[in-house]
């Protein structure tokens, strides 16, 4: 195969910069609106902020996980989106800054946080060895340490591989990715317990962490496909990415859509069968007061419709079509994050607020700005990866 010029052409860099400034503008507008919303209705601001944060955090965490997964399994699909995922995983410093409002609002957000609650509520009192504010911050610090360490270590090894060739970095990346995946599994589990499940401090579900893992898998694959298709308009990706690669990515996104539905249904079926009062509350909130329509919409629009669309081989191989489905799934993941977080605050019924749109715009806009800034710093293909040639040639699995 004739050598593909790997360096990002100036024209594409310019386009990335323009897109980047647009996202920054969107982010700043969203931030200004969200700040205004804070003064108008602080309670609502924190709630809307939390769901948007959980969604965007999932993109960064999912990027990190899929990078490590691909180092372990290999596969051309991962080589084509490697730089997108690495750039996504280098956004944790921003997410650390953006965690600040949640840290400041911890007493307004989490019902277990105020002291008086634990004194009056026996169950929360029993759980207070885990659910207390200092330990909460210690755990969140742990999540950030793990994610920051893994993402920057992996990105650095990958950069060294670009410069000096495969070994020993290739082996080092694999050695780090094994334990890294394990740490990711633990991090996503406890992250989901702390930031979402603890909003209903009486309620518990052992599959919840894995459920959030499924969400991150869907949104990250969908995001990577959208960015890849966007990059395919120009060199080098227009020459490197072929329909086999998109087909593989589409299949993996399809698999995660199924996994997402499977985990959701597993949780629901077990709680529905057990029919115990302390477990069913979570679903009662989500099947009354208007929330039932959101639940049904997620079932239909996040599972049935994408399922039948993604069955098509032709759709997965056509950039314009697969990226539209991916965009749809990203939106549905945002709706899903809303559905996971919001009913815990509004059990009386669904109540939309303009802040629900402002906060994803703020966090998402700033995140995209940092993401694109990271993406343009390196070649769009992992030039030092020993599997690159094969991936370009055959699209081998």
């Amino acid at each position: 195969m004739s050598a593909i010029p790997y360096n990002t052409p100036a024209e594409l860099l310019g386009e990335m910069d323009r897109t980047r400034s647009r996202w920054l503008l969107a982010g700043l507008l969203g931030l200004a609106a969200a700040a205004g919303g804070y003064f108008a209705d602080p309670q609502r601001f924190f709630q809307s902020y939390l769901y948007a944060y959980v969604f965007v955090f999932g993109l960064a965490m999912g990027s990190l996980a899929l990078t490590m997964l691909n180092h372990l399994t290999g596969g051309a699909w991962g080589i084509m989106i490697r730089r997108i995922l690495e750039a996504g995983s280098r956004t944790f410093p921003l997410l650390l800054i953006l965690f600040l409002p949640i840290a400041l609002g911890v007493f307004q957000i989490f019902p277990w946080a105020p002291h008086e609650v634990a004194e009056q509520d026996h169950l929360i009192h029993e759980k207070s060895a885990y659910l207390n504010v200092p330990f909460f911050f210690a755990r969140v610090a742990g999540y950030f340490l793990i994610c920051l360490f893994l993402s920057f270590r992996i990105s650095r090894l990958s950069a060294q591989q670009d410069e000096h060739g495969a070994e020993p970095y290739y082996t080092k990346l694999q050695r780090l990715s094994g334990p890294g995946i394990l740490l990711y599994g633990l991090t996503v589990t406890f992250f989901s317990i702390d930031l979402i499940m603890s909003l209903d401090p009486h309620w518990f579900s052992t599959i919840f962490g894995i459920l959030l893992l499924g969400c991150q898998g869907v949104s990250t694959f969908a995001f990577a496909i959208m960015v890849l298709v966007w990059l395919m308009r120009q060199r080098p990706m227009s020459e490197a990415v072929r329909s086999v690669h998109l087909h593989d990515l589409g299949k993996l996104m399809f698999a995660f859509v199924n996994l997402f539905a499977y985990f959701n249904f597993s949780q629901f079926l077990i709680i529905w069968s057990g029919n115990l009062p302390e477990e069913t509350t979570w679903y009662l909130k989500r099947t009354t007061g208007g929330w039932q329509y959101v639940s049904i919409a997620i079932m239909v629009l996040h599972f049935f419709v994408p399922f039948f669309l993604l069955l098509s081989r032709n759709l997965k191989r056509t950039p314009g079509k697969v990226s539209k489905v991916a965009g749809w799934l990203i939106f549905m993941q945002l709706v899903n994050a809303y559905w996971l977080v919001m009913p815990s605050f509004h059990e009386r019924g669904i109540h939309l607020h303009w802040l629900d749109a402002a906060t994803p715009l703020a966090i998402g806009g700033l995140w995209m700005w940092v993401f694109l800034g990271q993406l343009k710093q390196r070649p769009l293909l992992p030039v030092g990866d020993p599997m690159l040639e094969e991936a370009l040639h055959s699209g081998g699995h």
Partner: protein, 190 residues
């Protein structure tokens, strides 16, 4: 092949009955290249044979729209209806039972069986549909007449252009295949 006498009878009646020309390659890359060139030259009745699946060779002959996926989808939908229908009928009409005060039509508990039956019927449709559409099991195939063809299940790669192809011409096709640098080209009789 049948005995000599049989062979000569065929020749006398209808001319030699040629199945096709078989080119032998010793690596998959040559096979893929040859298949692409043969397709580009306009041959349509051709097939590639290899000891293991070579995806590029499969893609080099772009007329593979088969109906197995459709059969699988129909199987899955039939399985879904059967599974859900059976449970609905049993628990609402044939033998309604009060289980934990739940309604008779407790659909969440029906989903696992519905799913399992969808998978089962889809698998049956995949296996039997595949067998029906590809004509297997096939105890006899003209290519087995080629003594070299047995190596297709070991370490050799073959491209066969069949005599039924409209472009097929014994001499021209032979020259064309020889130009693809195979190890050898052989005639295969029916």
């Amino acid at each position: 092949m049948a005995g000599e006498s049989m062979h000569s009878v065929e020749t006398a009646d209808a001319g030699p009955s040629l199945y096709g020309l078989l080119a032998e390659f010793d690596n998959p890359n040559d096979l893929v290249r040859a298949t692409r060139q043969a397709y580009a030259a306009g041959y349509r009745k051709l097939d590639a044979y290899s000891p293991y699946p070579v995806e590029e060779a499969w893609e080099a002959i772009p007329h593979h729209s088969n109906r197995v996926p459709l059969a699988v989808l129909c199987g899955a939908l039939a399985g879904m209806c059967a599974g859900f229908g059976l449970q609905t009928w049993a628990s609402t009409m044939y033998y309604p039972m009060n289980i934990g005060g739940r309604p008779d039509l407790s659909w969440p508990s029906f989903i696992p069986i519905t799913f399992e039956l969808a998978v089962l019927f889809a698998s049956f449709a995949a296996v039997f549909g595949m067998l029906m559409m590809n004509g297997l099991p096939q105890p006899y195939h003209p290519l087995f007449n080629s003594p070299r063809f047995a190596t297709a299940s070991r370490d050799r790669f073959f491209l066969c252009i069949e005599a039924q192809d409209p472009l097929f011409d014994r001499q021209d096709t032979l020259r064309f295949l020889a130009s693809l640098e195979p190890r050898e080209v052989a005639e295969v009789e029916n």
